[in-house]
């Protein structure tokens, strides 16, 4: 069995009310240590109020070659944006 600690992806909530954001990765033997290490590595200057650690091999990711099939369909759907509709000035804020 390979004796290298697994890789964890670290997500930090920067401030109350914000979502967690990916900040980087680190190695740790288990989740508890991953969070402890993340505290030392990624929050030394008050960068966070909450940490998520996810083992990297549990993350499912889309592949770069799927870019077309996944995202092109939305390019033609301009009516999904509010700017598609002309609202007369007299109507006021909307």
């Amino acid at each position: 069995m390979k004796n290298e600690w697994p890789l964890w992806e670290i997500f930090i909530r920067g401030q109350h009310g914000m979502s967690h954001r990916h900040v980087g990765s680190l190695h740790a033997p288990d989740a508890e240590m991953a969070i402890k290490n993340a505290r030392d590595v990624y929050t030394r200057r008050n960068e966070g109020v909450s940490i998520w650690a996810v083992e990297a091999n549990h993350i499912a990711a889309s592949s770069p070659s799927d870019k077309g099939p996944l995202y092109e369909p939305s390019e033609s759907k301009v009516y999904r944006h509010p700017t598609f509709f002309d609202i007369p000035d007299e109507v006021g804020a909307m």
Binding site: N3, S25, L26, H27, V41
Partner: protein
């Protein structure tokens, strides 16, 4: 720099794919780990990012040397925080290199058995407290000049690591300047120590940028791929131009009689470092090469039981959890 003389690897990929790849880079797109990339791009980056990471880690040794002997509790806390940052920098960079398909342990082993290098600067000794000031101010100052443009490098994980590193680096340079300023403005004996530190570290700091690479094939390829952003000489000149006025501000003598303002170029002329010495240090014959590698090897060996123990504990806990379910 922290990655000196990184040989770029030849690429034998499909010319059509290569052209499309170059077009993405020219358009300013970031290359992400799962994207197609030329074999040479991947190999060169592993070597460059790995060397950069090793430099952060080995770079802790010359400063760690003075933590317990800092002159005040405040200076001790500051130096400790600085050295801890460097461990973080090493880690951000190792993680960036790992996205290219090399493991952390492989990288570590290549450092430990000498297959991978770290910056020549860390093979010079730190003889006294004045060196702590000079290292932060000059060595981190030189590193910043290289790292700031690397924030725009084409490889996404490397660029993001550099952004994090740069956020922390100006603390490093400033604490060093502040420490040496205290000595330069102190007693005559303290001022003399500050001068001695600047004299000793000036040329090794200039060497950090590597030899002149104006006509090197490797750097042409790396610059096209945006994994090297400036020539060594450009960055070295920038360093001299920014540092000379700071030395004067401190009231210290310039460490090189060749430093003279050149009106025409709008820059300082300066003397070349002794490149024979540089190549000798790179080959392993610097004053501290043996010590540095011995210290890293010892740390790796001494830590083995901790790494194994924590992993065994984690596996046992996971097995118990499965059994209980």
């Amino acid at each position: 720099m922290y990655a000196q003389m990184v040989k770029s690897e030849a690429t034998t990929d499909d010319p059509e794919k290569l052209a499309a790849f170059q077009a993405r880079i020219d358009a300013g797109e970031k290359i992400e780990p799962k994207d197609w990339m030329p074999v040479g791009y991947r190999k060169t980056l592993i070597r460059q990012i790995g060397q950069h990471a090793h430099s952060e880690i080995v770079g802790q040794l010359p400063e760690g040397n003075w933590i317990t002997r800092a002159p005040t509790l405040e200076r001790k806390a500051i130096l400790l925080a600085k050295v801890q940052d460097e461990a973080g920098h090493g880690l951000y960079l190792y993680c960036a290199a790992e996205t290219l398909g090399v493991s952390r342990d492989e990288l570590t082993e290549m450092l430990l058995d000498g297959r991978m290098k770290y910056s020549s600067i860390f093979n010079y000794p730190t003889l006294n407290w004045a060196d702590m000031g000079a290292v932060g101010w000059l060595v981190d100052g030189a590193a910043i000049l290289n790292q700031v443009p690397l924030q725009r490098t084409s490889f996404g994980p490397y660029s993001r690591a550099m952004i994090r590193v740069c956020k922390e680096e100006s603390f490093h340079a400033r604490q060093g300047f502040d420490a040496i300023r205290k000595m330069a403005e102190g007693t005559p004996a303290q001022k003399k120590m500050a001068q001695d530190a600047v004299n000793r570290l000036w040329f090794p700091a200039l060497m950090m940028f590597g030899p002149s690479d104006a006509d090197s094939v490797h750097s042409t390829q790396s610059m096209a791929w945006k994994i090297k952003m400036n020539t060594n000489d450009e960055l070295r000149q920038k360093f001299v131009d920014q540092t000379v006025p700071q030395i004067e501000f401190l009231g210290l003598d310039l460490p090189d009689p060749g430093i003279k303002w050149n009106e025409e170029r709008g820059s300082y002329d300066y003397s070349d470092p002794d490149w024979a010495e540089f190549f000798d240090v790179i080959k392993g014959n610097g004053p501290c090469n043996v010590d540095r590698l011995a210290a890293r090897n010892k740390a790796w060996k001494d830590g083995q039981w901790v790494r194994d123990g924590l992993l065994a504990h984690a596996r046992k806990k996971a097995a118990r959890k499965v059994a209980a379910e």
